[in-house]
């Protein structure tokens, strides 16, 4: 139940890259393709509560199938081009059925955790102060202690105060 199958992992990659595409915006070009999503997914499925992993698998299946029932699509999610994938997720998001519109939200939440948690991405958002090391899951290989929680010491420095934020009160 906990371990996603190879095709589910491909769906995850495609769906997160649809929600958070790389190179879509000149101002913010980083997206799903710029972070190791599969490493994140491996870490997530190992540590998340079982009900959430099951919920993620159900979400992937529902989003995969949903375009089959949408007028003008009639194909699975993976058989669609990039633009129509985006349109399919957007239509689910606007559904009047609570469960259907919340499915992409779960995926968006998980995708944002992966993409926006990486220091390089945070820096490109304009954040002045970011961690000096990447999250554990970004690393090439798992260490023995990886499951005991974050272990690498992080350098904590004084926050950089933006001039406008620190302006007199």
């Amino acid at each position: 139940m906990r371990r996603l199958l190879a095709f589910e992992r491909r769906w995850f990659q495609a769906m997160v890259e649809t929600i958070l595409p790389s190179g879509a915006s000149e101002q913010f070009p980083l997206g799903g393709q710029d972070v190791p999503l599969q490493r994140f997914l491996a870490d997530f499925q190992r540590h998340a509560p079982l009900k959430i992993v099951v919920g993620l698998r159900a979400t992937l299946l529902m989003i995969f199938m949903a375009p089959l029932f949408m007028s003008g699509m009639r194909r699975t999610f993976m058989a669609l081009g990039a633009e129509r994938r985006e349109a399919a997720i957007l239509r689910m998001r606007h559904s009047d059925v609570y469960v259907i519109r919340e499915l992409p939200v779960l995926l968006k939440t998980i995708g944002c955790m992966a993409v926006l948690g990486v220091p390089e991405v945070q820096r490109s958002l304009g954040m002045a102060q970011v961690d000096t090391c990447s999250p554990d899951w970004v690393g090439e290989s798992r260490t023995e202690d990886a499951d005991a929680g974050p272990t690498r010491p992080n350098t904590i420095t004084e926050p950089v105060v933006p001039a406008s934020a620190a302006a007199g009160s």
Partner: protein, 518 residues
């Protein structure tokens, strides 16, 4: 890595058959209630053992990214939620210090009107007289270095709310917090990286340990040991929260009593697992919250929401109307959830991230939910459905915030309400929220203050514990946390939880002294 004295972790007991300990009082949970009780009892010279399900995370290991923090500090990685018509995220810490290690350190004394209501309607204040609470709060405020958020770390977001309230003539204040020397990293939810926040992991847990208490982390309490109709100890099991790897059993014998302080969700689960509450049938019932919703605004000028106290300014102007508005600096992973759309449209909005201000509202809703333990799986099931009037309250609060944001020059607000456009540019459109059905599923709510699931009172038929926190059905077992509060209160509860726990624990210590003197 930084370690605490007198602390035993999962790593210390790997390969051991079983662990046994004995003490005067065993305290389950190290959040606001448990750590305060341990601090009072240990100072009184009593032998105290603390049990904590979560891990000890040294501050050098804390990370800025939300996912790492959710894994190491939050219960169910932040995915705990209600199972009802619409999911309400139920956020709780699961680490040494409990939720105080991840909250925004907001301090409020229990409003006198609420205390009076607890007395009038529930007869629940026999041992928590307001004057006694005030004495306890004064001690706590001194020890936790409670102070007003300094202007230097209000951040642009905070100053924006302050200006909006002043323009509208609403009362407004910088938030009082248990933080001294805040550096304004906006990382309260990820664990304070500079340890300026006097959360229980930085304040009362180390203090109790210095007074001789012992702490077992990564250990979940499971069974109350009973002898002669009294609670005389606890059995627990070491388990890594992250990997669910099981360790040895822990048995703690407690000569004087067992104090349960696991929160209004986990306390009733523990009581139900031990067959307690059959008399009143109230264990896990009457769950109350302060569900919150948020509104983001996009401004011309940069807001730099990554600088400043995570929550720095609030208005209690609408407290009588049952809601409270406050600023909140969310990390980008969570703030981005406010941005509507997906794909290219979403990515183009990330450029506006630094121009985004976010305010939240916590509502004193009237709905009652319940908490129960799954019969087969033992898992925690939380049911909570907002009433239509609760949904209308949240709508009103969102409109109030939108009005203030537009007054301060917001180009657009992002209400995140199903049925409204993702971006709203004027108040006429925003007011269309009242045309949408009063369905809790129209917005994403977060419930972070939890009350009432093991309520206190004098009558065993209408309460779970007595007015001193002692369980009616099992002498020697005390509930110290917000489970005993008869109602929600409209302000952040940490200080009240500490105050009530302080008085309950002080009473136990005084009884001990009286017995010794006799």
């Amino acid at each position: 890595m930084e370690q605490l004295p007198n602390m035993t972790t999962f790593g210390d007991v790997e390969g051991v058959q079983g662990v046994e300990d004995a003490c005067d009082y065993v305290v389950i949970g190290t959040g606001a209630a448990g750590a305060t009780a341990a601090r009072v009892l240990a100072e009184a010279g009593l032998d105290v053992v603390m049990l904590e399900e979560g891990s000890w995370i040294p501050r050098q290991s804390l990370r800025q990214d939300m996912y790492s923090s959710l894994k190491s500090l939050w219960r169910d990685m932040g995915f705990q939620g209600t199972e009802s018509r619409a999911v309400v995220a139920v956020l709780q810490g699961c680490t040494v210090g409990g939720s105080t290690a991840v909250n925004s350190a907001i301090i409020h004394r229990l409003p006198e009107q609420i205390h009076a209501e607890w007395e009038r309607a529930y007869g629940a204040t026999e041992h928590i007289a307001y004057a006694d609470l005030e004495s306890a709060w004064e001690r706590i405020e001194d020890e936790l270095r409670i102070q007003v958020t300094p202007d230097e770390v209000l951040g642009r977001n905070g100053r924006l709310l302050r200006d909006a309230c002043e323009r509208k003539g609403y009362s407004v204040q910088s938030i009082v917090r248990n933080v001294e020397g805040c550096k304004g990293t906006s990382r309260c939810s990820q664990g304070c990286p500079t340890a300026q926040r006097q959360s229980m992991n930085n304040a009362y847990v180390p203090r109790a340990l210095a007074d001789g208490a012992r702490l077992y982390t990564d250990c979940r309490a499971e069974k109350v040991i009973r002898e002669g109709g009294r609670a005389v100890g606890v059995r627990g099991r070491f388990r890594r929260t992250l990997t669910r790897e099981r360790g040895p059993e822990l048995t703690v014998r407690a000569r004087r009593g067992v104090l349960v302080a696991c929160s209004a969700i986990q306390t009733p689960i523990f009581l139900q697992a031990n067959g307690i509450g059959r008399q009143s049938r109230l264990v896990g019932q009457r769950l109350q919250m302060h569900p919150g919703v948020a509104l983001a605004g996009i401004f011309d000028e940069p807001m730099h929401c990554w600088f400043g106290a995570t929550q720095s300014v609030e208005t209690l102007h609408f407290w009588e109307d049952r809601y409270k508005i406050e600023t909140i600096n969310l990390p980008p992973e969570l703030a981005s959830m406010r941005l509507p759309g997906v794909g290219t449209a979403l990515m183009e909005q990330f450029g506006a991230f630094k121009h985004m201000a976010i305010w939240g509202v916590q509502c004193r809703m009237r709905a009652h939910g319940r908490v129960r333990r799954g019969a087969l799986t033992g898992r925690t099931i939380v049911k909570y459905d907002m009433l239509p009037e609760d949904v209308r309250l949240a709508k009103t609060a969102l409109v109030t915030m939108a009005e203030m944001m537009f007054l301060e020059g917001a180009q657009q607000v992002l209400p995140g309400v199903h049925g409204l456009p993702g971006r709203v540019s004027d108040m006429d459109t925003m007011r269309r929220i009242f045309d949408i059905p009063d369905d809790p599923g129209i917005f994403h709510a977060i419930g972070s203050h939890l009350f009432g699931t093991a309520v206190m009172g004098q009558d065993p038929r209408s309460s779970v514990v007595g007015t001193d926190g002692q369980c009616h059905e099992l002498p020697g077992l005390y509930v110290m946390d917000s489970s005993v509060f008869p109602t929600n209160m409209g302000v952040n509860p940490q200080h009240t939880i500490c105050g009530v726990s302080w008085l309950f624990a002080q009473r136990l210590a005084n009884e001990e002294r009286a017995t010794a003197a006799a």
